[in-house]
């Protein structure tokens, strides 16, 4: 037997060793099967915590009420009670420290998300108070006549614009 015939094999083994050594350095220590199934639980464990640490942006009305007690109380008592403050004001993260003022969504299109009549039979949308965008006070913002925090109220006169 001529042993030179094995040389390509040594090459292959060398390559394998290089990969195995590289693995030791390049694969994070917490990579493995975390759970019972190799199919579904093979991953880097630290990533779970990374996702848990993802920053929360919408803080909920419990956060709003700390300063805007009156507004939240008004909303809570209104037919709009189910609507989150942040639906119209955007995520509260960083407010008021970094973001002094939150945006206020005043566009007609925002109100129309629920209140545009689509005339769909047997659909929850049709049961809400609704208008036809094309015929109802076309050029005016809704907030001129309706108070979003309590749509039963009319806005104070001086605020009309």
């Amino acid at each position: 037997m001529k042993w030179h015939v094995l040389r390509p094999l040594w090459l292959a083994i060398g390559l394998l060793v290089v990969i195995l050594i590289a693995r030791q350095f390049l694969v994070p220590d917490d990579f493995g099967v975390h759970g019972e199934s190799f199919t579904y639980n093979f991953h880097r464990l630290g990533n779970v915590q990374e996702w848990k640490d993802f920053p929360v942006k919408h803080l909920g009305r419990e956060s709003c009420v700390e300063c805007h007690e009156e507004k939240v109380a008004m909303l809570d008592a209104s037919p709009h009670a189910a609507i989150e403050c942040e639906n119209c004001h955007g995520p509260a993260v960083g407010h008021p420290d970094d973001v002094e003022l939150l945006p206020i969504e005043r566009a007609r299109e925002h109100c129309l998300r629920c209140h545009q009549s689509l005339e769909y039979p047997n659909n929850a949308r049709s049961e809400l108070p609704n208008i036809r965008n094309s015929t109802h006070k076309r050029r005016r913002e809704c907030v001129v006549c309706h108070v979003p925090h309590d749509p039963r109220e009319k806005p104070a006169r001086e605020k009309r614009g």
């Binding site: 195995l20 990579f31 199934s37 929360v56 919408h58 769909y120 929850a124």
Partner: protein, 256 residues
């Protein structure tokens, strides 16, 4: 996560072995077997969508995009709302412009104006990741960059994903996409950063109609779990054997 040193070593060694020996690829544990062996098994997240309550306002989509840092104007989204309008001739008109981010304020579908007189039924169907028990997207990931956590949520490791797109192809529900900034696969994770802190997912909070609700299916006292276990609920595309965990009330045969 409580995990003893010994367990950790065991898992680490198991992982190393598993990744060297292809043999482990051929052990197909059923999920019940797998679950039974997992210690921290008192949480399994599920989701309930009541399509009868959805009015198609799209505020869930808006909140999701802002909460999860998905570029607002990019045409991809972790959750979306579909509109189905079935006309009296039996034809289904379906759309989801911008994923329903801006709501549905016109009676026009795919450029076609639909006369309300002709509508037999119409409804909205919110969609999100089904956090399947047998997620095909996880099965096909070549590097272990996407996985199922012990509470049933499927996550994507943004540091390890190579961006091959195989998971996107493997998902029958089309919930995955490439994140335009991070350039890795991305998907809904039930707002994992919120639910693990006891908060609701952003879309659930944003919904004023209770059409979207989160549930811990392991907690028999969870009110949403009670609905799922006692009422008639359905899942999407069960023929794929993925065992989805987003349950629907009021699903229609036309829903895709």
């Amino acid at each position: 996560m409580s995990c003893s040193r010994r367990d950790f070593l065991k898992q680490a060694c198991g992982g190393t072995l598993a990744s060297i020996l292809p043999v482990s690829a051929f052990t197909f544990l059923t999920n019940e077997e797998a679950r039974a062996a997992v210690a921290n098994a008192n949480v399994r997240w599920g989701f309930l969508v009541d399509t009868r309550k959805c009015v198609g306002c799209g505020l869930c989509v808006k909140a999701c995009k802002k909460e999860n840092e998905i570029p607002y104007d990019a045409p991809i989204t972790r959750t979306w709302v579909e509109r189905y309008v079935i006309t009296k001739d039996g034809k289904a008109h379906i759309d989801s412009p911008n994923g329903g981010r801006d709501g549905f304020i016109e009676n026009v579908i795919n450029g076609e104006e639909i006369d309300p007189e002709n509508i037999a039924k119409a409804f909205f169907v919110p969609k999100l990741c089904n956090q399947c028990d047998n997620p095909p997207c996880v099965q096909v990931c070549p590097v272990g960059a996407t996985y199922q956590t012990d509470d049933g949520v499927v996550l994507v490791d943004r540091e390890w994903c190579i961006g091959c797109g195989y998971c996107i192809m493997a998902c029958p529900y089309g919930v995955r996409f490439f994140h335009p900034v991070h350039k890795v696969a991305d998907k809904c994770n039930f707002c994992y950063h919120r639910i693990t802190k006891g908060m609701n997912p952003a879309c659930v909070d944003a919904c004023a109609f209770d059409a979207r609700r989160i549930a811990n299916l392991r907690d028999p006292d969870d009110p949403v779990t009670k609905i799922i276990t006692t009422e008639r609920v359905a899942v999407l595309k069960d023929e794929y054997g993925t065992k989805p965990h987003v349950f629907y009330i009021g699903l229609d045969e036309n829903v895709r």
